[in-house]
């Protein structure tokens, strides 16, 4: 049973990240996921300081708002400050992350909260944190519930916002010229990325989140020239890596997150060979 939960968790994270990642890589913002996953730390710490609990909801709210703040600051520094976009990302996320580290080290000394426990979830632990009701009913791992809700939100966003997201990604100037608020869709997307990043790395760890945000869309990008297909292929690539990664980890008795990421790498090599030798 625990194999099932781990694979399901991996697939859910892969699916949410993969869908959002398609828009990120097309906007040339692939590494924003990495940036946000670190930048949200102060949000999590501040949420903890105010609520004194490790509940998810305040953490998610704190993290998502700081994630949006990070995106806003990156845009601001990039647009108004004449700083390259990638430099702006590096600047803002290290700054916010260090604010988080300072907050943790000076305000929360006696509590079990450190950068590691926020940033490094462990997917192998998912089956052990169960949601058991007061009457003793076992509803399965909490992470699976959270990630399922997240997946529904992400799918809903992309289903409803597919056209405006596509238009503002492809040609933001034209979108603005016909009166579409490019900022609204940008921050909606980034809000979803922040939320996804936080919820996901709490359960599977930061590296796997970054891998899932970038690798499945990059694989799909090489295999198709249609955005709707790209979204589907990136779901499929994520699913394969969740199943294949678990099998690989079981066979080698190694780390699951590492194995899933490695499978993504292998998938990418196949996609790359297809692109270079067959498609052109």
């Amino acid at each position: 049973m625990s194999a099932f939960w781990i694979i399901l968790t991996g697939s859910l994270v892969a699916a949410s990240c993969g869908l959002l990642g398609c828009f990120l890589i097309l906007r040339r913002m692939a590494m924003i996921g990495d940036a946000i996953s670190h930048a949200v730390l102060p949000g999590i710490v501040i949420a903890y300081i105010f609520t004194h609990s490790l509940d998810s909801l305040p953490m998610i709210l704190g993290a998502t708002s700081v994630g949006l703040l990070a995106t806003f600051l990156i845009e601001l520094v990039h647009q108004k400050g004449k700083v390259q976009a990638d430099a702006a990302i590096g600047l803002i996320f290290t700054f916010l992350f260090s604010c988080g580290v300072i907050l943790i080290s000076s305000w929360t000394k006696h509590i079990d909260l450190d950068a590691d426990c926020v940033l490094h979830g462990e997917i192998a632990m998912v089956p052990f944190e169960l949601w058991i009701t007061e009457s003793g009913l076992n509803l399965g791992p909490i992470a699976v519930w959270k990630l399922s809700i997240l997946f529904l939100i992400v799918v809903g966003l992309i289903y409803v916002g597919y056209r405006p997201l596509r238009l503002t990604t492809f040609d933001p100037q034209y979108a603005a010229a016909i009166g579409v608020s490019t900022g609204f869709w940008h921050y909606l997307l980034m809000g979803a990325v922040s939320m996804t990043t936080v919820l996901s790395f709490e359960s599977v760890g930061a590296i796997l989140v970054v891998a899932f945000l970038v690798a499945p869309p990059a694989i799909a990008y090489l295999l198709t020239e249609r955005l709707d297909h790209m979204l589907l292929i990136s779901l499929l690539a994520g699913l394969i890596s969740a199943v294949g990664g678990y099998a690989l980890a079981a066979a080698l008795e190694g780390a699951i997150a590492g194995a899933m990421t490695a499978v993504l790498g292998i998938e990418f090599i196949f996609a790359y060979c297809y692109y270079v030798y067959l498609r052109k």
């Binding site: 097309l26 916002g161 238009l167 492809f170 034209y174 010229a177 016909i178 009166g179």
Partner: protein
């Protein structure tokens, strides 16, 4: 020399734009009458692109305001269309020609209703007008520069607007395509539409346009061809690019002759 139009469709008042405290457009003040093919000309860095971006509210002006059809842009957006430079987007984006042209229908249809048969017919008709009807299913990554340009034009036509701002629609296309696009623009003008076109080539500009806006950060001149297309204004606009001016003044003295006759240019 700035000749103001009566009953203008475009009014630009004291429009200035600065980037990083340097002015790129300085107090432009002019108006454009309806039903004209208008050339926006000036040397590189003269603020031509900035001018139409500022009119479309894509960059924030540091001063001034714009009225289109005597109203602010937000009230008349469906009547206004914008063709960005083709270099402003990533042509490796995973989509096809027809999808890009259909983007021109979002203004009328909105995002959340599916395309009707009419939308598709209009999109296809617009592709036909630019001679790209055989490419509707083609991936945009496989288009040549000239074809990309024509797809952008078709998208803009699909908007069915009355006023068009086009940024370098003739850049990077061959002579045959240029002729067919020009024919299309003239046809649109005869339907009473107004087109403002950023253009880089003075010789063809003289043939194409009937109203000129000459820019060199500040507005040098705006008016009908007969009033403003002359040596002094060109000199003021382009400064010391003498070889070019020499060619043009040759052309001007031989006005009435075919402008592209190579022997005249030699």
């Amino acid at each position: 020399m700035i000749i103001q139009a009566e009953n203008p469709v475009v009014e630009v008042h004291n429009l200035s734009v600065t980037y990083h405290n340097k002015p790129v457009l300085w107090e432009a003040d002019f108006s454009i009458p309806a039903g004209n093919l208008v050339g926006i000309l000036g040397p590189n860095g003269a603020g031509k692109t900035t001018l139409i971006k500022a009119i479309m509210n894509l960059v924030d002006p540091s001063s001034g305001y714009v009225k289109l059809f005597d109203r602010p842009l937000d009230e008349v957006r469906p009547r206004v269309s914008y063709v960005p430079q083709k270099e402003s987007v990533d042509w490796d984006f995973p989509t096809n020609v027809l999808d890009v042209v259909l983007m021109g229908r979002f203004g009328k249809r909105g995002f959340f209703r599916s395309w009707t048969r009419k939308d598709k017919e209009i999109a296809l008709a617009c592709l036909e007008k630019v001679g790209m009807q055989d490419f509707q299913k083609r991936q945009i990554s496989q288009l040549s520069g000239g074809q990309q340009q024509r797809v952008f034009l078709a998208r803009s036509l699909a908007q069915e607007a009355d006023l068009y701002f086009m940024d370098e629609p003739f850049a990077g296309i061959d002579a045959a395509t240029e002729d067919s696009i020009l024919k299309l623009l003239l046809e649109m003008r005869s339907m009473g539409k107004t087109l403002l076109i950023v253009h880089h080539d003075l010789q063809s500009a003289f043939e194409y346009f009937d109203w000129f806006v000459f820019l060199n950060t500040r507005l040098v001149a705006s008016g009908p061809k007969a009033e403003v297309f002359n040596r002094e204004i060109l000199q003021e606009t382009y400064g010391s690019k003498l070889t070019l001016l020499h060619t043009i003044s040759n052309l001007l003295t031989k006005e009435g002759l075919p402008m592209r006759d190579e022997t005249d240019l030699e």
